[in-house]
Symmetry: C2
Subunit: 356 residues, 2 copies
């Protein structure tokens, strides 16, 4: 790894009590370039601009995929990653579906640890705080032909993060727009999936909702995901979540929730969720909770579902009654080293670059 | 418009008889930046790299769309665009679906004419030759939150082009992968649509095909498009093409073919095409031709259709018998100023920047 430390650290300008998520970047970034059929050396360099022309295939043909993960700082200042090998696996799954080269463990995991090590001061401490980390691969060849690129860049950038939604949100069950096609790229964290969701989300916001629950594009009868989260539904005391598929992203938070719920002895069913069944459960009072989970938001509890022009209100449970809140706390405590880690999910970021 | 002419023209290095499509760029490009809710001034500058970080939203969330069009040079050296207002309309339709700002006629059409005027020497003369032009809009804000970007770049770059496919090609009728979801972005020239198509196309190539005929994602029973082309089927003497929809790109070449076919008195039906009907027509000998149309390739005639593990051969018609070839010639002659233009499709590019 080539390491070029910044001579102008911006850390003194970073106020952990006053920053906006997503727009403040840590001092460094990882970059690695792919050419002639292979990846070059990993470089740790100051965060900043690089040279690309508007003919770059990444922006022309959307050959680009990414990951989202976080680093957490405990009360002693130790920094942890959470299940990073899951993101490593998933970026390669996404890359494969988009006909892009996979990255090696050395590039992804070693690059990641080096970046978080050197930028550990950028990981804010305290409840709900973390450093959000964005690994990505995008096509960099300059060519105007719709074909697989011959050049790529792998990069990791990071931005301090705090709690996303603080209020419970209302979500609209989609009856027209959709996120993924059968035989499409819904299970990949493909760049284009996100752009496709913005306009429908904006329309839902104009109707007074915060987010969308995506349904299958053919019939709109089944739940898929919610915004950029996987979705859970609780009817009586049973928790449901749809199985992952080629249309549903295999979320790390979803998987962790399922395991945490099992540990608590909650009844979890991984099976298709029918819109009709959820609406019926709401009408007959058995629908207790609906929530979304993902790295960025951790958990968002929904207070109402929009369906067919109606706003279906959900009960307001106390923190003790809410499975969503109980499981969220289990997860957050584990991520922040406030509880045991029987699963081996936490990965300590060593101090390896101090003498560089 | 701010005009900054190159001081190092590369035109002397350009050999119109020996270049590869898509990788050679003309001397200049148009750029225009969007910020604070409005577009800035249009700039005509030397083609080359600009500064972007890997946090650029365009490559993270795929908020990017493009156009593809061509400039043609006639035997007297006059340069023409073909129906540029259609591409102007369509880029704004794409932008709208991706929650991006639309561009004005001044930015798009004036920028386009200025670029082609100044780089007119890059338009190669002769049959099948042209300058391929790529207008695009992409998100440039640096932010790691999946939301609508606040900053964009509009750009136009150009590359000399020649005939695409020279041989008739074999195409596979897709029975698993798909290009577009109902309620998705198939009718937009969204960057992400192309990346999504590469892997399935690669698989089809490994099976010995050159391209895919996309079918509807829910049932795979209906033709949608072929590769990056709209598709036409001729059964006996009737030409069929599917109606455009939210899943099918509204191609300029498709529209031109329909009008040219009508002018010739051919029987053209714009209606859904069932895979089953095409296969049946092939079996009973009434399937005469299947072809794809688009700006890049103009027309590609298919010699075989892959379906259900079978390779269905198509008849080899002479140029005089082939509706595809007759209509292609009508179009190419019109584009290259070799025939009358009763439709008013040709737009002459004036010499306006000579004294700059
Ligand atoms: C579409 C989509 N679904 C679900 C998730 C949740 O995945 P994870 O828990 O791995 O963050 C994400 C990412 O945050 C996503 O983009
Ligand atoms: C998906 C797709 N379909 C069809 C076409 C044909 O459109 P046009 O004739 O406007 O080039 C294109 C663009 O070339 C395309 O990308």
């Amino acid at each position: 790894m080539i390491i070029q430390k910044t001579e102008n650290s911006r850390i003194s300008t970073f106020d952990p009590n006053n920053f906006s998520f997503g727009g403040t970047f840590s001092d460094h970034m990882i970059i690695c370039e792919y050419e002639d059929g292979k990846w070059g050396e990993v470089k740790l360099v100051p965060y900043g601009p690089l040279l690309f022309t508007p003919a770059m295939m990444g922006v022309n043909y959307g050959q680009a995929c990414f990951e989202g993960m976080k680093a957490y700082k405990d009360k002693d200042g130790q920094v942890f990653l959470f299940r990073p090998e899951k993101n490593f696996e998933r970026i390669n799954k996404s890359a494969n579906r988009l006909a892009m080269p996979s990255v090696t463990e050395e590039i992804f995991l070693e690059g990641l640890k080096a970046l978080i090590d050197i930028d550990r001061e950028w990981v804010p401490q305290g409840e709900g705080n973390s450093l959000y980390i964005r690994p990505l691969i995008f096509a960099t060849e300059e060519a105007l032909k719709a074909r697989i690129s011959n050049k790529y860049m792998f990069a990791i950038v990071a931005t301090p993060a705090k709690m996303y939604y603080t209020e419970p949100v209302s979500v609209k069950i989609s009856d027209h727009y959709s996120r993924a096609a059968s035989g499409g790229v819904g299970s990949a964290k493909a760049a284009g999936n996100y752009a496709a969701s913005f306009y429908p989300t904006q329309l839902a916001m104009e109707e007074g909702y915060d987010q969308i629950i995506w349904t299958d594009d053919a019939t709109h009868e089944y739940f898929e995901e919610s915004g950029t989260m996987n979705v859970f539904v609780r009817i009586n005391d049973t928790i449901y979540t749809p199985p992952t598929s080629e249309k549903i992203l295999d979320g790390v938070t979803r998987d962790s929730f399922i395991q945490l719920a099992n540990r608590r002895g909650f009844d979890v069913k991984v099976e298709p969720i029918k819109v009709k069944d959820v609406v019926e459960a709401q009408k007959n009072g058995t629908l207790k909770e609906v929530w979304g989970v993902g790295t960025a938001v951790v958990t968002t509890v929904f207070q109402a579902l929009g369906y067919n022009g109606e706003k279906l209100e959900l009960p307001r449970l106390s923190d003790e009654e809410s499975f969503a809140v109980i499981l969220k706390n289990d997860l957050v405590n584990l991520q922040n080293n406030l509880s045991e880690d029987p699963f081996g999910w936490r990965v300590l970021v060593d101090h390896a670059l101090e003498t560089v």
